[in-house]
């Protein structure tokens, strides 16, 4: 029963090189046409938000040797804090290590275990991440951290190559993914710029604001119903956090927490349900609240928790001014 597939004496007779040339020409023609079509539709290169891309940025951060600012948070920071604005204002490298839908704790623990020194850590403070079990977000961030720890030389090299290509070719961006294109074609449309795109720094741009009704737009996550940690557990968590911050500080790092701007119902949720978290528990931890940065700043959100591009830029500018005097935090 043992048969061979494509043994050299049974290969269909083909004039090999002309066929290969034809395939290559057609491939180049298809790829170039699609790339051109996508560019004329306004699409630009974008990255995938996957653990390997994050892990690469994590490694690069460590290898930068310190002195830079490291942002640790979730999508709120990925969207709301622009490294491209912050870096020139602070005149230092800014490393965006926020994880969409992830808790900052595993990332912080990873830095505490590592050898990083001389960094300034800017850690997103979203009260529900601290005062609720939030297991899903913790697990997600831990998965990213694990991938970073297990990134072998070959895998790193692989993702470096992908990174370089994604910076340049629209065809490789998530918006040009086959599923996305098929779904658009199914609706009788051609691909158009996606609402969300990620740059090489890990920052996400939301292109089209959705607006927010007082009741909350569909898709807006409400935090009022999430079960709270018992007060002892919350105290223990904050105590752990303080120990980690001490360890980081002992290696010459600085740490500041930042409460990210939110809008409408989400702001109400935070104020009503989590007010005690920053008045009671976060005491003695370096802390910046967006409410105290610039009284003229009125955040505009796409869905309650995430800033529009204009608001993100304005917020980052105010934050930069505050961070210039971080020693006084």
């Amino acid at each position: 029963m043992r048969a061979h597939s494509f043994t050299s004496d049974r290969i269909p007779r083909t004039s090999g090189w002309p066929l290969l040339l034809l395939i290559l020409l057609l491939f180049i023609l298809f790829a170039a046409s699609l790339e051109l079509l996508l560019r004329t539709r306004g699409l630009s290169p974008s990255h995938f938000d996957v653990p390997e891309t994050w892990a690469l940025r994590r490694i690069r951060t460590e290898e930068s040797g310190g002195g830079g600012l490291v942002i640790v948070g979730s999508s709120r920071s990925q969207i709301g804090i622009r490294p491209s604005v912050l870096a020139p204002a602070l005149a230092k490298a800014v490393h965006q290590l926020s994880i969409n839908g992830g808790s900052p704790f595993p990332v912080l623990e990873d830095f505490v275990r590592g050898q990083a020194s001389g960094f300034t850590f800017l850690i997103e403070f979203a009260p529900h991440r601290y005062a609720t079990p939030d297991d899903k977000a913790y697990e997600k961030a831990r998965r990213f951290v694990d991938v970073g720890r297990k990134l072998t030389f070959i895998r790193r090299y692989e993702h470096e190559l992908r990174f370089v290509l994604r910076e340049r070719v629209v065809l490789l961006s998530p918006a040009a993914g086959l599923r996305s294109v098929l779904s658009k074609l199914g609706q009788g449309r051609l691909p158009s710029p996606s609402m969300v795109s990620m740059d090489g720094e890990g920052s996400i741009t939301m292109r089209r604001p959705m607006g927010l009704s007082p009741e909350g737009e569909q898709g807006t996550r409400r935090y009022a119903d999430i079960p709270r940690l018992p007060s002892e557990a919350l105290s223990a968590r904050v105590e752990d956090l303080r120990e980690q911050l001490d360890l980081l500080a002992s290696r010459g790092n600085q740490v500041a927490f930042v409460r990210m701007p939110v809008c409408s119902v989400v702001l109400e949720d935070e104020n009503e349900n989590f007010h005690d978290v920053w008045t009671e528990y976060m005491e003695a931890i370096p802390f910046v609240s967006w409410l105290e940065l610039d009284p003229r700043f009125r955040p505009e959100c796409v869905d309650g928790s995430h800033l529009t591009a204009a608001s993100a830029e304005a917020f980052t500018n105010s934050l930069a001014l505050r961070l210039e005097s971080i020693e006084t935090l």
Binding site: A3, H4, I11, G16, L22, E52, T152, L171, L172
Partner: protein, 467 residues
């Protein structure tokens, strides 16, 4: 390093270039061996030692065996079996064995503390241990003469195209290919590349991008599935696992062909099978042939009574199931296949409805195979029972897990796959390739390459890497 990676393209280009040079054949073989070890080391360099251990033991056993006395020969065979099966037991089945032993002891009131052994599963261990075992068993049975050099044997075990997920190659097929210099002619080289693109298209586009999300959404929330969700999710998985695994095998065959080597077929349009015995002559052929030659026949095959044949069939399928994964769901998957095979034998002895209406037989076989895939894919028996209940309509018609567009896409892709398998079930891969007009072939390959590029964001491993 997986075939659907840029690192592999770079690696392959370097190996191919070196292979095309005018170096002496022994040097080229050495180069291929080193490249294969580097390929394997890309996952976890430490596990290269296991590969080397398995190769050394079986090479030495193979060299000693022909001149050994029967008793010594027997013990040499035991040494090979203990080494290879021991590696599997430690690295693949340790946690499974421990859990079951502790559970069993607990039933008798003996509480034992678990001994935690934190080991990762070495990729491809089930494949290369079976490959080296077949070498020793063939020498033991007098069907094969030992490899002339360790270098040749090491290349046979580690040959990178098929190292981590098959096809499981027999020494009798591969070692003779190392005797004379191998280099692909232009036709073989281009067909090799075509097969590589075809395999990548199956894996990256069809399995990962189109079908996996549908299967994942149903098997990730089985409690919410209705009749249609359960069937669509299972059809999607049936397509996913075929495209994933057959895609890998096609890539492996294509890569080997570019280097001038030929590897055995691993899939022969299995969803066109009429009956379960026919299915196992078409699905993962290199494994089913291995199980048949070294397990089923060793147990007595069909030489005894009907009862003994049934027992042998069931034992072979149970162990085949366990080979796939250290979980009782895989054993149950094997058991269900064994039960279907026994049932089919019983039916065939009384009447032969499958031969007269092949399409009916093929349809029933496909549906039966889909039922077995539930056990293969479900995370637990509880999930599997819920999905079985859903498939038989006890949880409502529609659970909303799969959208209409995904349902249509799944039915279209998997339906076309089944139809193509049925219509071409008697054609060989070469005959099928020869029938495609060259212009259409060039257009198709270029299109497939483009779609592979567009799906480059996926990072799914090949399913069979875990086995």
């Amino acid at each position: 390093m997986v075939f659907n990676s840029i690192s592999f393209i770079v690696f392959f280009a370097v190996v191919l270039t070196a292979h095309q040079t005018t170096l002496a054949w022994p040097l080229k073989k050495l180069l291929l061996t080193v490249a294969s070890y580097l390929f394997y080391a890309a996952w976890n360099p430490a596990f290269v030692l296991l590969l080397l251990l398995s190769s050394c033991v079986d090479y030495l056993v193979g060299r000693k065996m022909p001149s050994a006395r029967p008793r010594a020969k027997f013990w040499l065979l035991q040494l090979s079996l203990c080494t290879n099966l021991g590696l599997l037991a430690i690295f693949k089945y340790y946690a499974f064995i421990q859990t079951n032993v502790l559970g069993l002891m607990a039933v008798f009131g003996v509480e034992l503390a678990p001994w935690d052994l934190q080991v990762d599963l070495p990729v491809g261990i089930s494949f290369y241990t079976f490959q080296t075992l077949s070498y020793t068993l063939d020498i033991y049975r007098g069907r094969l003469k030992p490899a002339d050099s360790f270098a040749d044997f090491a290349l046979f075990v580690a040959f990178f195209p098929q190292l981590v997920a098959g096809p499981i190659v027999r020494a009798a097929d591969f070692l003779p290919q190392l005797e004379k210099p191998k280099q692909a002619n232009s036709s073989a080289f281009v067909w090799g590349l075509i097969l590589l693109v075809n395999g990548l298209f199956a894996k990256v586009v069809l399995a990962d991008t189109l079908l996996a999300p549908v299967a994942d959404s149903v098997y990730g929330s089985p409690n919410s599935s209705g009749l249609l969700d359960a069937w669509i999710g299972t059809f999607a998985f049936a397509g996913q696992i075929y495209f994933d695994f057959a895609g890998y095998s096609t890539c492996a065959i294509g890569v080997a062909l570019c280097l001038g080597f030929s590897l055995p077929d691993n899939f022969r349009r299995p969803y066109g099978a009429v009956g379960f015995s026919d299915f196992w002559e078409r699905w993962h052929v290199s494994l089913s042939a291995w199980l048949r030659d070294y397990l089923y026949i060793s147990l007595g095959g069909n030489r005894g009574s009907m009862g003994q044949t049934r027992r042998n069939l069931m034992m072979t399928m149970l162990l085949g199931g366990l080979w796939h994964g250290a979980s009782w769901t895989f054993v149950a998957w094997g058991a269900l296949h064994g039960a279907f095979l026994i049932l089919e034998r019983w039916v065939r002895t009384r009447f032969s409805p499958l031969e007269s209406r092949k399409w009916i037989g093929a349809s029933f076989t496909f549906l039966g195979v889909c039922l077995t895939w539930v056990l293969f894919r479900a995370e637990s028996f509880a999930d599997a029972w819920i999905l079985f209940a859903g498939m038989f309509g006890t949880t409502g018609l529609w659970g909303g897990l799969v959208g209409i567009s995904d349902s249509v896409l799944t039915v279209l892709v998997v339906g076309s796959l089944c139809l193509q398998h049925f219509l071409t079930r008697d054609l060989s891969a070469e005959e099928l390739g020869a029938r495609i007009p060259r212009g259409f072939l060039a257009f198709g390959v270029a299109f497939m390459a483009l779609t592979v590029l567009m799906c480059g964001g996926n990072y799914r491993s090949f399913i069979y890497f875990q086995f």
